[in-house]
Amino acid sequence: MIRLLTYRLNGRERTDAVPDNVLLLDHLRETVGLTGTKTGCDGGECGACTVLVDGAPVLSCLTLSATVAGRSVETVESLAEGGRLAFIQEGFHRKLGSQCGYCTPGLIMASEALLRQDPDPSEDAIREALGSNICRCTGYVKIIEAVRWAAESSAARSGSPAEPAR
């Protein structure tokens, strides 16, 4: 069955005709055309497909599109503003938290959800929050540094005394 699905995507309300059996991941990539969200294991094990639904990280490969009716979906494409990378993106770039890059959009969205809840996360909190995401390149150390860099940089911009460690 195909129905009209109204939801908010990256801050803008939109309505799409969506079959009941289409996964949010496939809808985002193939109908909307936002290919930043990646298809990884296809079974909820790797986190590459992580997007935010109502601010919480969700595996879009296990989410049926129709279940996000009336909800707010955010993908990695929502982060940069006016061509400027968000701190969390720049952190992954500067700290080499991204190598092959395939897991990066999922890790960035999981990190983004963490930073909204806890703007100054400890290393343990970062490890805990990224537990559903797998990276086979970096060994995770640089990813943790990237999230810390983003936390410190964003605190510095908002006038708090913490300086970013570059």
Partner: protein
């Protein structure tokens, strides 16, 4: 690319609506967080449902209530909500620890208490692609004639891996509230799982768990521990919930329940033989004996059954010691 079968998705907001929809769609299944069911649907495990009833917006299935020593958790509560609830953490630390240990953080946002209680049993011969299972002539749990884990067995040995059931089973009066097309009933948690992997739940196809209730004996110290291949995400190779009452230097109550080993959550029998005196080496040896006799891990994972049975014993002894010592 989409390879899922066609179905109709419905999103009722009350139990009465759920029951009416289920009555009109006999081939439907209930969809909660989707972290178990959608994976299986994608792999072609189980008969494709004609309709899915999304129960994530059902009001009666939300909410946690704590009234002194009594707890009631709606089946639609997410694992994360349960793990983070301050009343659960204070009064039911074993249950909170079990919830915190489930899968990874993103799964805990999605997965629900009802889904973890009703988690499908798992096996390396079952949780595979359609192509893989066909090449191995399927198995007893779905579509095949024999159990590849125990070829002479007439029952399926796929393993139960939910973490909340054992943590609830060691409390008093653990019960599930069940709703079906015909009406509602209450079932002791102990009777929810059958022990036969093929039909692992004692629920009719039209029934669903609405909530779970339990009561905590005031002096019971509870805890939870498990081992996994990858500590941040995997299903348990073995998990144990324990409840201990200590009076002075004496152990006066001991309760243990296991997951990840048997086809159903296993409440360890015979623990009263350890009670009445101090928790000494002889008592620990007796505990190991009970675990060896009752924990029956088969080769349903890539890790051997022998290892998982051994790990279950080690986890149990460590956890009981920690709770008894109060550290």
């Amino acid at each position: 690319m989409n390879v899922l079968p066609e179905w109709e998705l419905m999103a009722p907001e009350s139990i009465d609506e759920v029951r009416a929809l289920r009555a009109h769609h006999p081939g439907s299944r209930f969809l909660g967080g989707g972290t178990d069911l959608v994976v299986n649907l994608r792999r072609g495990i189980g008969d494709p449902p004609a309709a899915l009833i999304d129960i994530s917006r059902v009001a009666e299935m939300k909410g946690i209530s704590v009234d002194g020593e009594r707890l009631r958790v709606g089946a639609g509560v997410t694992i994360r909500e349960l793990a983070d609830d301050p009343r659960v953490r204070a009064g039911f630390p074993g249950l909170a620890a079990a919830a915190r240990s489930i899968a990874g953080p993103t799964h805990r946002h999605m997965g629900t208490v009802g889904g973890n209680l009703c988690l499908d049993t798992r096996c390396i011969y079952y949780n595979q692609s359609e192509w893989w299972r066909a090449a191995n002539r399927y198995c007893l749990k779905y579509g095949g004639e024999i159990c590849h884990v125990a070829p002479k067995s007439r029952v399926c040995y796929a393993t139960f891996s939910g973490d909340l059931a054992p943590a609830l089973a060691i409390l008093d009066a653990a019960e599930v509230e069940v709703a079906g097309v015909e009406g509602a009933r209450t079932l002791p948690l102990e009777s929810l799982h059958t022990g036969d992997g093929e039909r692992y739940l004692a629920l009719e196809p039209d029934e669903l768990v609405v909530a779970v209730r339990a009561r905590r004996p005031a002096a019971l110290r509870t805890g939870y521990d498990k081992v996994r291949v990858r500590r941040s995400i995997d299903y348990p190779l073995a998990g144990v919930a324990a409840g201990v009452v200590r009076e002075g230097d004496r152990l006066t109550d001991l309760r243990l329940a296991f997951t990840g080993t048997n086809p159903r959550p296993l409440r360890l029998r015979g623990t009263e033989a350890l009670c009445g005196g101090p928790l000494d080496d002889a008592g620990m040896e007796r505990l190991s004996g009970l675990v060896r006799r009752q924990v029956m891990a088969m080769r349903t994972t890539f890790t051997s059954g022998h290892y998982r049975r051994h790990a279950a014993g080690v986890l149990a002894r460590r956890l009981v010691r920690r709770l008894f010592d109060g550290v």
